[in-house]
């Protein structure tokens, strides 16, 4: 099969690289930057991408990252074409430790503009073998692996301080797996979010499970969450229940969709998002998911399923030509429906909606000034300020009274 050459289109190149990975010729660079989650590199047009770089993954990849001949830096090449790239060093804070001796790198992982912190890496679905079949990302497949350790608020605060001090990223992304209770994990994350908000001027995104009651969504917004993600991952109803039996049985697809729709009415435009994993269902189904979610004001984020040696689930090889139209559709739909997607950018693990413009050769529609603004510290501070003002205006009253049963 003759594969298309994507070197002229950085958006498409990002997708192909994520699918196929790239070998790293320089052993020093490989040892320094290639971790279990891949390597972060910067493509032309400042497109950030996380590429699988482990040997087992890249064995069939035509891409190689090597030192640029006669120049400083690196190039990405397939033998015939090449583009200059930069390998992003692992953040320095990874190697430092909290006062309690936990490496910051264990607590937080930076993926471009945001840093993921998972204070409790256990997911209750694993207990009953009802976990999502593709899952291994942030959560321990084995609860004992982490020794049952839950990072304290103080440890997380220390970590956030290190992240922000190094300017590794401007958005803190807290995530949580499934736990008993009808709050979707919000109750557990509340002290973390409050502590971060009271100590630092940064945006906080939360990836949680849809709560049983919308009051938890109100509460999450009120106590400081700027952006919320309830990941559907698979839009197709049947595949959803087969691949995610726990979520289908204990939460339900419909509840996830309802919670997303409600949250989109509470949070700012473009700050409620849901993952639809490309590759776990037919592209047509993902496109239907995009249409459905955007009708509710939700930003679909489309990570590509990345096979892993540790995961029970495997899918047939994906081809960039098949999935690029999905990203094009995402970009066009978001623009058409007026959903703000400017704050979902510079994420190495997914092709963001902003990057969709390269796939449609729609670069002229964007303003370099605005792009620079959104990416700048000033832009981040502005987003934080606007988010804080909006919350102050919208959160009407907080009464201390006995809550009704089943509510926060």
């Amino acid at each position: 099969m003759i594969r298309k050459n994507y070197f002229k289109n950085p958006g498409a190149l990002k997708i192909d690289l994520m699918l196929r990975g790239a070998a790293i010729e320089d052993p020093v660079a490989k040892a320094r930057a290639c971790g279990a989650t891949g390597i972060d590199i910067l493509l032309p047009k400042k497109i950030l991408v996380n590429i699988p770089c482990e040997d087992w993954f890249t064995v069939r990849s035509p891409y190689v990252i090597k030192k640029s001949a006669g120049k400083k830096g690196y190039i990405l090449t397939n033998g015939s074409d090449s583009v200059p790239v930069s390998i992003l060093d692992r953040p320095e804070f990874y190697s430092r430790k909290t006062a309690t001796g936990v490496p910051f790198g264990d607590i937080a992982v930076t993926h471009g503009s945001y840093t993921v912190i998972t204070p409790d890496k256990r997911c209750g679905f694993f207990k009953s073998s009802a976990q999502c079949r593709y899952c291994a990302g942030n959560f321990s497949t084995d609860a004992a692996e982490n020794g049952g350790r839950v990072y304290t608020v103080e440890e997380v605060l220390e970590t956030v301080k290190a992240v922000l001090k190094e300017k590794a990223s401007g958005i803190i992304y807290l995530s949580i797996g499934f736990s008993d209770g009808d709050d979707g994990g919000i109750k557990f994350l509340e002290p973390y979010v409050k502590a971060i908000k009271s100590h630092f001027n940064c945006l906080v995104a939360v990836e949680a499970l849809p709560p049983a009651s919308n009051e938890w969504i109100d509460r999450a917004y009120a106590f400081g969450v700027d952006s919320i993600l309830y990941n559907l991952d698979i839009f197709d109803k049947e595949l959803f229940s087969v691949i995610c039996p726990g979520r289908a049985g204990l939460i339900g697809r419909q509840r996830t969709l309802d919670a997303l729709k409600y949250a989109a009415g509470i949070f700012a435009n473009g700050t409620v998002a849901s993952h639809l994993i490309v590759g776990l269902e037919p592209p047509g189904s993902t496109i239907m998911g995009i249409d459905f979610l955007t009708d509710s004001g939700v930003v679909p984020i489309l990570p590509i399923f990345r096979p892993s040696k540790d995961r029970p689930l495997d899918v047939t090889d994906l081809d960039a030509e098949v999935i690029i139209p999905v990203y094009r559709h995402l970009y066009k739909t978001l623009k058409k429906k007026g959903i703000n997607f400017n704050w979902v950018r510079d994420i190495s693990m997914v092709t963001t909606p902003v990057e969709g413009r390269y796939l449609l050769n729609d670069e002229k529609s964007s303003s370099p000034f605005l792009d620079n603004f959104y990416e700048s510290r000033l832009g981040m501070k502005t987003a934080w300020g606007l988010s804080a003002i909006r919350r102050r205006l919208r959160v009407k009253k907080i009464k201390k009274e006995d809550p009704p049963e089943g509510s926060p």
């Binding site: 009051e215 109100d218 509460r219 917004y221 009120a222 009415g265 509470i266 909006r390 205006l393 919208r394 959160v395 009407k396 009253k397 907080i398 009464k399 201390k400 009274e401 809550p403 926060p408």
Partner: protein, 474 residues
């Protein structure tokens, strides 16, 4: 914790939030512009400034943009700042006897409630006289009025509210639908309001009026003099009030056995009368007796304070308990109102306003009484009744020289009607408490309130015209 998210468009929320700063900005601009206006003939600069402060406070009291106490602070700060009165003189007005009298009244009232005495009296009376639907209404109506003779009407309404609510529930009355439910809460609210005008103790407005009267003219009114002057009005309003209520809301239940059981159960639960209750009751009785007999000579505030001291010396109350019952906001508001009234008087502004504005409409005693009482009753429907006194009394007292009426009569003309708020829940806390039960709607209250409004105004004027001359008030 309960959270509500305002989902209206952000511009609507912003517009709503902007109203307040815009209001204050316009108010400040209006205040400054007023001060820049040329001083009218016959009015000095001090008078002009006093009127500016008066208008500012009037807007704030009517709009309720800030708590009434804070409006009082505006007067306290602005009067010396603008040079209307010297700083020392201004703040010394805060030590007015009326302020200490009302402080004493709050503490006495708190002690009566804290001891359980008022609750016991209420339950015993209802147990004894509340055997049928009509008798129960009458006992609540008269009880609220009688208690408001010796306690703040607000405190009476708050104290009786849980009892009346429990009675309504025991009778399974449907909120908003049951006529008897409406009757019960109207009896509570209107009984408190009518009783509240009966003596100095029913509310804070009469002591405030006395304070302003004393500061501006040096004269004063005795505890008994006031009660005698107002008694016919109280009697007529109680009778008319009962007739109006039972006509508008005919009794729609057959018996009150369940309610009576509740009252009996509650009364029994109190046990025997404790020494503390006897002692507090005794001190209250002696205090009222002293107010009646030697109040004019010794001063009402001195007697009130002596009683308060006795309560603490005998360890009948604790300061921490009493603090809950002292409305410091009202005390602050009083200070401000007295300062404002004195500033208007001493600067000549009150006299000028009377000459310039009121003279056209109020030239004879009859028209003065009719006009001021009407204004007071109308204003008190939407303003704190003490604020009505602060606004109207300096002007009405200013009419004394022009109409040959005594300042005392002109004080009654405002102080009594200022307590007659029947129409709206915002008029007085007693009405608000009744509406909060959900048994009475605002519409119900307005409907019956109009009749009471007209009755009280007409009765007041008839009383002033025919009865007051008989007791030497002219």
């Amino acid at each position: 914790m309960r959270v509500e998210i305002d989902r209206r468009p952000i511009w609507v929320i912003l517009a709503g939030k902007a109203l307040r700063p815009v209001f204050f900005l316009l108010l400040a601009l209006g205040f400054i512009l007023f001060l820049q206006l040329p001083v009218p003939e016959g009015l000095g600069t001090g008078g002009m400034r006093a009127i500016a402060v008066f208008l500012l406070c009037l807007v704030l009291w009517v709009s309720n943009a800030v708590p009434v106490a804070i409006t009082g602070l505006f007067a306290i700060v602005l009067v010396p700042l603008l040079g209307v009165l010297p700083r020392g003189a201004t703040y010394s007005l805060f030590g007015n006897e009326a302020v200490f009298f009302i402080l004493g009244a709050f503490i006495l009232s708190g002690a009566v409630m804290q001891s359980g005495l008022s609750n016991r009296v209420a339950l015993r009376l209802m147990e004894k006289h509340g055997g049928s639907p009509k008798r129960l209404i009458i006992s609540i109506f008269l009880l609220a009025a009688a208690l408001s003779f010796v306690m703040s009407e607000h405190a009476v309404a708050a104290m009786l509210f849980p009892i009346v609510l429990e009675i309504s529930k025991s009778l399974k009355l449907r909120p908003g639908e049951s006529n008897y439910g409406k009757l019960l809460f109207f009896a509570l609210a209107w009984g408190s309001v009518i009783g509240g005008v009966g003596t100095f103790l029913g509310g804070a407005r009469v002591p405030l009026a006395m304070g302003i009267l004393k500061e501006t003219t040096g004269s004063t009114i005795g505890f008994l003099d006031y009660t005698v002057a107002v008694a016919p009005l109280v009697v007529v309003l109680l009778i008319v009030g009962y007739i109006v209520l039972t006509r508008f809301f005919p009794v729609d239940i057959d018996g009150v056995e369940n309610a009576h059981k509740v009252i009996v159960r509650r009364a029994r639960a109190l046990g025997k009368v404790r020494p503390r209750e006897y002692a507090v009751g005794l001190i209250l009785g002696i205090t009222i007796l002293l107010w009646i007999t030697i109040g004019k000579t010794v001063g009402l505030a001195a007697i009130a304070m002596l009683s308060v001291m006795a309560l603490f010396v005998l360890k009948l109350v604790k300061w921490r308990e009493i603090e809950e019952y002292v409305n410091w906001g009202i005390i602050l508001m009083y200070g401000g109102a007295i300062i404002l009234g004195t500033a208007l008087d001493r600067s000549g502004a009150a006299k000028w306003m009377v000459d310039a504005i009121m003279t056209q409409w109020a030239q004879t005693p009859i028209t003065v009484i009719a006009l001021f009482s009407l204004l007071a009753i109308l204003l008190t429907e939407s303003m704190s009744n003490a604020a009505v006194i602060a606004v109207l009394l300096p002007v009405s007292i200013g009419m004394a020289g022009r109409t040959n009426m005594s300042p005392e009569v002109l004080t009654y003309v405002v102080a009594i009607p200022a307590g007659l708020a029947f129409m709206l829940p915002m008029s007085t806390p007693a009405n608000a408490i009744a509406v909060s039960s959900d048994y009475i709607s605002v519409r119900d209250m307005a409907k019956g309130g109009v009749i009471m409004f007209l009755t009280s105004w007409v009765t007041f004027n008839l009383m002033a015209h025919f009865y007051w001359p008989l007791i030497g008030l002219r």
